[in-house]
Structure formats: C-alpha cells, structure tokens
Symmetry: C2
Subunit: 179 residues, 2 copies
DNA sequence: GGCTACATGTAAGCGGTTACATGATTTA
DNA sequence: TAAATCATGTAACCGCTTACATGTAGCC
C-alpha cells in the first residue's frame, strides 16, 4: 500500500474530513514532508473506501451541495497502527537539481558560481525564517504524548535542516572566494 | 527538458561513456543527489541523439560485441552550459516517510517511539561514517576551478546533512525520554 | 451580480521502478 | 565451464502533475 494512503489514514485519525479539507492539510502542515493534489486524493479515497479502511457520511451544505465526510474504520485504524510500527530503512538521498548543477559548476566562471550559491542562500534563509516564526507559536516543548509534540519534533528537523543548508552555502561561497 | 538529460550531458562533458558506464556513474558518485537505472538511461540516450545533443561511435570489444561510446555534440555542450546558468527556485521539501510516521507517532507507546528514532539514528550514523571516509581521500580542499572542488562541495553538504540528522534524532530521543 | 472559496471528479502524460529479455566477454 | 561482469534494449505499471470539467455557497 502506498505511503499516501497511510498519510490520509493518519490525517483522518486526527479528525474526520472531506477530500477538500484533506487537500488543504496537505498544502499546510503536512507539506513539510508530504504532499498531494486533489486529483490524487479523491481516487485514493475511493480505493480506501473499497478496501474498507475508511467510510464516509454525506452531509448537505446549504440546499443541495453534497460533501463526503470521511472517517477511519476499525480496520483502517489497525492498518495505520501496523504501518506506524514498521521499521523504515533510511530513505535514499532525495534528488536535488541544485546540487547536480553545483556538481558540474567548474564549467562556470567564479562569479557565476558565487551568484548561484547566493541565490540559493537567500531562499533558504527565507524558508528558515518562516519555520522559525512557526516555532514561536510554541512557548515551550509540548508534552510527549500529544500530537503537538509530534509536530514539534518534525518542525525542529525542518529548522535544523535549513540552518545547515544556510551554513553550508555560506561555507561554499567562502571557499569559492578564497581563490 | 528533463533534469536527467542534463545529468547525462554533465557526465558526458567529463568523459565519453557508454550507457553501461553512465549507469555505473549514477550508482556511485552522482547517486548522492541523482540516480537512474539503465532502463531509463538507454531511451534517454536515444532521444538525446535524435535531438542532436549527443553522438556516438560504435566500438567493437573482442570479436563482435558492439558498444556505443557517447559524447557531447557542440549543441549538447551549449545546452548544458545554458542549464548550468539557469537560476533554480529552491526545491520543495522532499517527501520523507520517516518524518510522516513521526508526525503521527503520538499513537505509539513511548518505548516504541524511542525505538524507531534509535533505528534511524544508527542508519544515519553509518551513512555519516561512509561519507566521512570518502572525505578523507581529500587531504586538502581542491583548487576552485577543478571538478574535484565541485565534488568536494557536494560531499560537504552530504556530511553536514547527516550530522544534522544524527543531532536531531538524538535530541528527539532525549525529549521523548524526558517525560 | 460577480468574485472567492467550497466541493468533487476525470484524462493525458511524464518520470521512474520493476521485470522481462538477450547475448558477449572476462575471470576464477 | 561456470559465474560474474559487460552491454543493450523493451514492456508494464505506479505515483504524481497538469489540465480539463462541473457546479454550489457565501460574501461584498
């Protein structure tokens, strides 16, 4: 079963949602480490329904607009728990077009190379700022048994990763300028 | 044009190679930030030939085994340079199944959660060790205009990223045990 | 009345993986 | 002579993106 299905089960374990709301979730909180478009989510929900891992109730908004409120079945909850307990092999290093460029960058002039590093740096600095702002919403580390604690750990990684990226880019700029 | 095509052009700019050798390259040095299987590489080489970005010469090994030695055309070199100079938007945070698990990990027992963090930690420590061993081959930072320098920068990122991952995992284990 | 957000779907195509398929060369 | 490596290809399938397609509800 695809990871996306577990992501959907996980989100539905927190709160019953429509496909539309799931799509929004994938574009906000979860998007730091997973994402999906509605064109992928609706078919997956159909499949999960067939597999009896989720069920839905039709609600009417206004006079006739139907929306499907999805929730986990007992079976769905079990499938989620089983996946959560599965030890994962470390993921293969993800593809990275910028580092591919950099790998061939000796074909560029020193100025061009420094320029491309600086362009990445300002973007990662902005991303770091965004994540740090998000972190300020926590005035302390949440208790370990809450979903806020899980969120906090994941956010922490994002911040540390961006700090490292900025540090690395600055180091590279420095080394390029040294000669 | 897909990134894989530029990766192939980049590798061929260093050295003329067969599809088989390109495949090996994608499983060693370059695999830290890009990879591809032979089933994808051979069709891409056919397309690049049609687009007149690469050309090949047939060589005979032994008595009859034909191999195609690919190299860049003038046009191919220009395409590579054009791509190298293209400023890249920061890549979207890559998908990460482990962090997805962790995001839903408040459903686990404290012991189970610590266990999954420790399992990741030993894997990242091994990867860090591997990259550090690789780094020892450089006894100093190579001159900035060489391809070794490009390699060195990319390797440095790998090491810093793994260091950060280990640091983060240790911090998480600590926080999980604190309560 | 018009705009934005809510809400749900399908189709075509791309990049990539896994598996199928074949055969020559080198080395132990 | 058997196994590992060199060498080149194709087919089916999967996950995902982009685009197509439709209609309602709420707000200004």
């Amino acid at each position: 079963m695809s990871t996306l299905k577990y992501a959907i089960l996980g989100l539905l374990s927190k709160k019953s949602m429509t496909g539309y709301e799931l799509t929004k979730e994938f574009n906000t909180s979860v998007c730091e480490f997973w994402n999906a478009r509605h064109s992928q989510i609706y078919p997956e929900l159909h499949q999960l329904t067939e597999e009896n891992l989720v069920k839905y109730e039709v609600e009417i908004t206004g006079t006739c607009l139907e929306k499907k409120l999805y929730s986990l079945t007992e079976e769905g909850h079990e499938a989620l728990m089983k996946w959560l307990k599965k030890p994962l092999r470390m993921a293969h290093t993800p593809k990275d077009e910028f580092r591919l460029q950099l790998f061939f960058s000796h074909n560029l002039s020193p100025e061009e190379r420094v320029h491309m590093l600086e362009f990445q740096l300002i973007q990662h600095q902005a991303r770091l700022q965004f994540l740090q702002n998000y972190q300020e919403k926590y005035d302390s580390i949440p208790p370990a048994n809450t979903d806020q604690f899980s969120e906090y750990m994941v956010l922490l990684y994002g911040i540390m990763r961006e700090e490292t990226s900025c540090e690395w880019l600055k180091k590279c700029i420095c080394m390029c300028r040294a000669e």
